[in-house]
Symmetry: C2
Subunit: 206 residues, 2 copies
DNA sequence: TAAATTCTAGAATAATATTCTACAATTTAG
DNA sequence: CTAAATTGTAGAATATTATTCTAGAATTTA
């Protein structure tokens, strides 16, 4: 087994900085078109160091992706935790999820662009399934929250993955177009619309 | 200006065949990881010919993308035309759009995978805006169809791009996960669910 | 049927990713 | 505190892959 290396003091923050720079390059030119040399020049790092830290270009991209997903996950958990603390309703929870999506995407457009366009790319390199697992854990947290409301018939009896798509689908679709410059009106301006729409499709009775 | 070349007899079908083979490679390995040599070997074509016909790798990808979008557009138009012919309601039209999406994605999963993941990539190379324009034309056809129903207040007064995301968002989101193997239940099984959901959010009054 | 055009082939070149080797900096063990 | 041991840096060397180029074959046009 590969010895688990112990990083030096400032290594982690240095790596984080590189991820930010790599993100800039990736978003500006796309992963394929950004060369290691670009990242090297922009970060003032040597090629050797980059490879020492990340292994190869795909793994840099993977690290960027994971960083982004992690931050997004944190925000969503925080929003849901607040609902939980206030003993919020099913409606509050569903709207909170939409809010978390809209807010994170709006506040981190570059990360969002990257995350939207590179899940597949990154999944390929996830040989140990670590990423997959993290996402599953995140997902089961969400399910935990939903279950009681579904059981109480406040939310429609639908498969969880369908529920998930009904909640996030419209927001993500609009976000993609907005981030790409095809939709001029900022996502944030439709926050309430998408939140209410999600509740409208998922609530039981009308 | 670049002389508009006149292709030879079997050139077009040869190019189409290559696009299919390229799609296979792209879907199996991703655009970045498929080499020109792979496409060369799989198609029995020479490197020179590939470059003669397509210019470079990005343009092969662009051609694949455009082919896919074109086919999808055709299907959607056909579905909507049928509704028009039968003097269908707003509900019929909105459900038809969802059906077109679900059916095309289900019947052409590889094309769908590619189209979903490479719009951005391709948009970068669309210097003359031809692709952009085609999509705009397609979009305005849709808008034309919607307008009367919005005016008659059968459909909610919302910006067209929001309407578009509310109709297609959930289907596309689910499709992405299904195509990536994360959602095991085929998209088609939720066709009616997503179609009804779209109508539920968009209809006026409840 | 000859000239013009389009297409094919594969070698030559260029751009880029990755590996490797030597050394520098930091940490750890005693 | 000091000497291994470990981790990080640098840049040259190598390997892979994209792209260009040249010559000629096939087809079309006039």
């Amino acid at each position: 087994m590969p010895t688990p290396e112990k990083p030096r003091a400032k290594t982690l923050e240095k790596k984080q900085k590189i991820l930010g720079i790599a993100l800039d390059c990736f978003v500006k030119h796309g992963v394929e078109a950004t060369t290691i040399e670009m990242i090297k020049d922009a970060s003032g790092m040597s090629v050797g160091s980059l490879y020492h830290h990340f292994g190869n270009k795909d793994k840099i991209a993977a690290a960027v992706f994971i960083q982004g997903m992690y931050n997004f996950g944190q925000l969503t958990r925080a929003y849901l935790a607040k609902v939980k603390d206030n003993h919020g309703s099913a409606k509050d929870g569903i709207k909170a999820i939409v809010y978390a999506n809209v807010d994170w995407i709006s506040d981190n457009p570059d990360w969002a662009k990257f995350v939207f366009h590179h899940r597949t790319t990154v999944a390929k390199g996830d040989s140990d399934g670590k990423l997959r697992n993290d996402i599953n854990v995140f997902f089961s947290d969400l399910i935990e929250w939903f279950k009681p409301f579904i059981l109480k018939d406040e939310i429609k009896q639908l498969p969880i993955d369908v529920i998930s798509s009904l909640i996030s689908g419209p927001t993500h679709d609009y976000a993609r177009h907005w981030l790409a410059g095809r939709n001029p009106v900022p996502l944030k301006e439709h926050r309430e619309t998408f939140a209410e729409a999600a509740w409208l499709v998922l609530r039981n009775d009308g």
